[in-house]
Amino acid sequence: MLRSDRWVAILLAVTTVLMLVAIVLVFGVAPDPVNLQTPVERFSQRIFYFHVPTWWIGFLAFFVAAGSGVFYLITRRERWDVISLSSVEIGIAFTTMGLVTGSIWAKPTWNTWWTWDPRLTTAAIGWLMYIGYLMLRGAIDSPERRARFAAVFAIVAFLSVPINFMAIRWWRTIHPVVIGSGSADAQGNFALGPTISMVFFYCLFAFTVLYVALMALRVRTERLARRVEYIKQQVMFR
């Protein structure tokens, strides 16, 4: 086993343990919020412990992609393009989970799967922008041009993240704001007590480690893919 393989294996094992502990905390330790009256509300509130961290990882992944884009444009080193692409893929996976779990939470709380609320609309636009990032990459043949365009796109697309984050603070919305104060129209809000906070921040930490593990895996695969492509070119043009 290579040294890097060993580190990835250790990281994956640690992540698995952390995620299992998160499950135990969410279902065994976190209390029901006092303001939620019906069992349906109380059960669906537990989606929050994984829903918010999926968005946190999505935002973190897009931040890393934008930062890597900046570094790529400065240095023109391929490694930054590898990091950017890997991070966007992980970000899309997690924001997809965020959209779906949010929609599942919305049904019992808002009595609808989807509504064109500012938060949901900005989230959908941001998600589509990153799908556009992958489409852009697929449409350009030249690796250097593809990396350059993708870097610029990742930086521009990142503008959607602060807008999405602030949407529930800037505009009238029914989406709850758990940290800080939000719109008076918010439905499904609850207070963060000490135990709920502890479980929530633990989940954020566990998801951050999960992101690092997935990045290690995905970056390694992308490097391998480019090595294979490089050797293919060598074989073809001999």
Partner: protein
């Protein structure tokens, strides 16, 4: 309760599919790499100096 279970099932399902797809891609690439190295060996008559650990293009090395 069904909504809560559905949300957690979606989370784990997407996570496992994503991780599985990475491992699957890696296996395919590993096979491709070995094949390419064999092709290069066949043409050069000697083994390639590049191992999997050095799986980098010159720019990334």
């Amino acid at each position: 309760m069904a909504f809560m279970i559905a949300a957690y099932v979606v989370f784990w399902l997407v996570t496992f599919v994503f991780v599985f797809s990475i491992f699957s891609r890696q296996r395919t690439l590993q096979r491709d790499l070995e094949l390419m190295e064999q092709l290069l060996e066949g043409e050069d008559g000697e083994s390639s100096p590049h191992g999997v650990e050095e799986s980098l293009t010159p720019d990334m090395a």
